[in-house]
């Protein structure tokens, strides 16, 4: 046992350092690199190509401007809400994420000149010739997505044209509702719908776009004014040179993707990203569980200690981390603490911290339960031989407790593995996030979630089988 411990610890430390190091270096390079957050699921503005590279109007535009103006950008696809929060808590220097310029946002952010004029269009199922204009919608249902301009526009005209509104939280569901015929039409941002139709999502656009909001690039209020200036200058240069139109055309008049949309085809085209995501999921699980085990043993021992202060400490730790949702903890460590103390933390470090502390609380309970289920006579016999409490615990009680804990430990492994999916919310590119990103590109939510679910299922079934075998061995007294 002792032989393995040291290399394991070294590997662990190396792994940890490799996450922290790049973040530490980024701050010290003398050439200015701006960290720009973006959405992950907003084609054609930003999405991941099959080869794992981020592309889209926002990305290409930003890169072209950076080149034109001579600065560097590091793009961080976090998801829209996370990107906005990251900017608020100054985790990043700017956000470009198809974000409409609104008065409310102007209170917190400084915006560039508008780089894209969006607007709402109406789309219907491909081949539906009956609906040509708004008045054809009388008595029909229209699908919209919560909080979008499409939703506000549809609401503003629904009484005039006499249609009903059905609200969705997710674009894919909204499109599906139209394709299955439940809703007759959908209102959404022009570029998004145009791109979706081009990608063969089964819809076609029937109206010209209503003039609407404009998208802008944002920095925190009063921060990085030079960046906004460079962005504006670069943008007007690109418009003059015609490169701006070229970038837009690349995405909005793109030919239909020839990607195979069958399950097998999807697996073929997406397995590199999915396997990378799975790797990240497993890494997060294993590293955080190793840390959680250490925390669990320390705080589990506190929980069984006679010392009241230690006991209290253990209880407080366990209660806090069991008593709050993991997602809140993740936001707290990624956005809350760094904003309050004014420092930056990488999403992976924050994610590992969250998972470790969360799982540590459950591990502490597992350790406590394991220790308490060892016969009291064991401790008494060890103490009667003159062994001090710590030695008796380490040599007699803990080895037995650990054997009893193995099934619960594997159960926690499974729970933590599933919990890693929650970290997709802070933009960590684990398995669920990889799925989200791929769906943002190909809009194949049913098949993709099926594949992602299956991947989790297979890994967890393997673990369950291992756990059952171990349990049987323990029962037979062989372990």
């Amino acid at each position: 046992m002792r032989k393995f411990r040291q290399p394991l610890m070294i590997a662990l430390m190396t792994l940890l350092l490799s996450f922290i190091a790049p973040f530490a270096q980024a701050a010290t390079t003398d050439e200015k690199t701006y960290q720009i957050a973006t959405d992950i699921t907003f084609a054609p503005f930003e999405f991941q190509e099959t080869n794992g590279e981020y592309v889209g109007i926002d990305i290409d535009l930003l890169n072209a401007i950076a080149e034109d103006q001579g600065f560097k950008v590091e793009i961080k696809p976090l998801g829209f809400n996370a990107a906005v929060q990251a900017l608020e808590s100054k985790q990043v220097d700017g956000v470009i994420a198809g974000m409409s310029i609104t008065d409310e946002r102007k209170n917190k952010f400084d915006f560039s000149d508008p780089y894209f004029d969006s607007g709402v269009v109406m789309a219907v199922k491909e081949g539906n010739d009956e609906i040509k204009e708004y008045k054809d919608l009388k008595g029909k249902k229209v699908a919209v997505k919560t909080g979008t301009e499409g939703a506000s526009f549809a609401t503003s005209i629904k009484d005039k044209y006499g249609f009903k509104i059905v609200t969705f939280d997710d674009s894919a569901n909204m499109y599906d509702d139209v394709k299955t015929g439940n809703s007759t039409a959908v209102f959404d941002d022009y570029p998004v719908l145009a791109y979706g139709a081009n990608q063969g999502n089964g819809l076609e656009l029937v109206t010209e776009k209503e003039s609407g909001g404009s998208y802008g690039f944002a920095v925190s209020k009063g921060q990085n004014p030079e960046l906004i200036q460079q962005f504006n200058e670069g943008l007007s240069n690109l418009k003059e040179s015609g490169e701006y139109d070229k970038i837009l055309d690349t995405y909005l008049s793109a030919p239909k993707s020839d990607e195979d949309k069958g399950v097998i085809g999807l697996i073929k085209s997406s397995y590199p990203s999915l396997l990378k995501g799975l790797g990240m999921t497993l890494m997060l699980t294993v590293v955080s569980l190793i840390i959680a085990s250490i925390l669990g043993i320390v705080f589990g021992l506190c929980r069984v200690a006679k010392n009241k202060a230690l006991n209290m400490l253990g209880s407080i730790y366990v209660d806090i981390f069991r008593g709050t949702p993991l997602i809140v903890q993740a936001f707290f460590f990624y956005f809350g603490v760094p904003a309050a103390l004014d420092f930056r933390i990488s999403a992976i470090t924050a994610g590992l911290l969250t998972l470790s502390l969360n799982a540590g609380a459950y591990m502490a309970e597992i350790v406590r339960g394991g220790i308490e289920s060892v016969d009291k006579g064991q401790m008494e016999a060890a103490r009667s031989l003159g062994l001090p409490y710590k030695k008796a615990m380490a040599k007699v009680v803990l080895p037995q407790a650990i054997t009893l804990m193995i099934p619960s430990f594997i159960n926690q492994f499974i729970i933590t593995l599933k919990d890693t999916s929650i970290l997709s919310i802070i933009g960590i590119n684990e398995l669920t996030q990889s799925g989200k990103i791929i769906i943002a590109r190909n809009l194949e939510s049913f098949n993709m979630w099926l594949i992602v679910g299956l991947m989790y299922f297979i890994i967890i079934m393997i673990l369950t089988k291992v756990s059952q075998r171990l349990e049987r061995r323990i029962q037979n007294g062989k372990a």
């Binding site: 060890a382 009667s384 031989l385 062994l387 040599k395």
Partner: protein, 242 residues
């Protein structure tokens, strides 16, 4: 000077007073048997002698060391007091040999090689030389208890405490364990034994102490206590068990 001296010892669990002021003395080389009905406090008394139970009042003294003094390093004192439990309490994750050598090695009393040599001699003494590499789960009750005795002896204690060492055994195994204890007695080990084996107590004890209701009711030689009990409660108890 007595080897072990208990003075006005009191112990309660919450409002339940289990020991109500016990006085007794054990001389060097003496074998003392504690007898009495269950719930009389004899096991608790025994467990107070190495402070496995916290004492609420009174004193426990071994040689010149006052155990009930908070400044005393109880771990050091316990190295010198062997204890054998009703349910053996062998360490199930360790082999028989490792059960015996664990504390001598951990407490740096012996080197590994010495500890092993001593353990094998002790196993030979309790008739289990062939079981050194067995796991406790592979042993019978009687064998487990003999290993437990060997484990306690490995620390080379001056005093041995036995807490109902044969109560959890099948009847046919009682003899083998008592034989080992008897052997220790003839070798001059100072022992305090809580037991229900009256025949055994009569045979090996120098002093028999009858307890009831948290008090010492009667003490004396086996002949005195078993043949001519002076107290009606002793008489009553002996009538029931003999």
């Amino acid at each position: 000077m007595a080897k072990l001296k208990v003075n006005q010892l009191k112990k309660s669990y919450g409002s339940l007073e289990v020991l109500k002021g016990i006085d007794l003395e054990v001389q060097e080389g003496e074998v003392v048997c504690l007898i009495g009905p269950s719930g009389s406090g004899k096991s608790t008394l025994l467990r107070c002698m190495n402070l496995l139970e916290e004492v609420n009042g009174g004193e426990v003294m071994i040689d010149h060391t006052l155990l009930t003094d908070k400044k005393v390093n109880i771990n050091k004192v316990r190295e010198n007091i062997g204890m054998v439990f009703q349910h053996f309490n062998l360490f199930p994750h360790l082999s028989v040999l490792d059960n015996i050598t664990l504390s001598p090695i951990e407490l740096k009393k012996n080197t590994k090689a010495e500890a092993k040599e001593i353990a094998l001699k002790l196993l030979d003494r309790v008739g289990l030389a062939d079981k050194a590499n067995a796991r406790p789960a592979q042993l019978s009750g009687g064998q487990k208890q003999r290993v437990a005795i060997a484990r306690a002896l490995a620390m080379n204690p001056d005093i041995m405490l036995f807490d109902e060492p044969t109560s959890a055994l099948d009847p046919e195994m009682v003899g083998e364990v008592l034989a080992v204890i008897q052997q220790l007695a003839t070798e001059g080990m100072t022992m305090v034994i809580v037991t229900h084996e009256m025949g055994f107590a009569r045979e090996v004890a120098n002093q028999v102490i009858f307890m009831d209701g948290g008090l010492v009711v009667e003490k004396g030689t086996p002949a005195e206590v078993f043949t001519n009990p002076t107290h009606p409660r002793t008489q009553d108890f002996l009538d029931k068990v003999l």
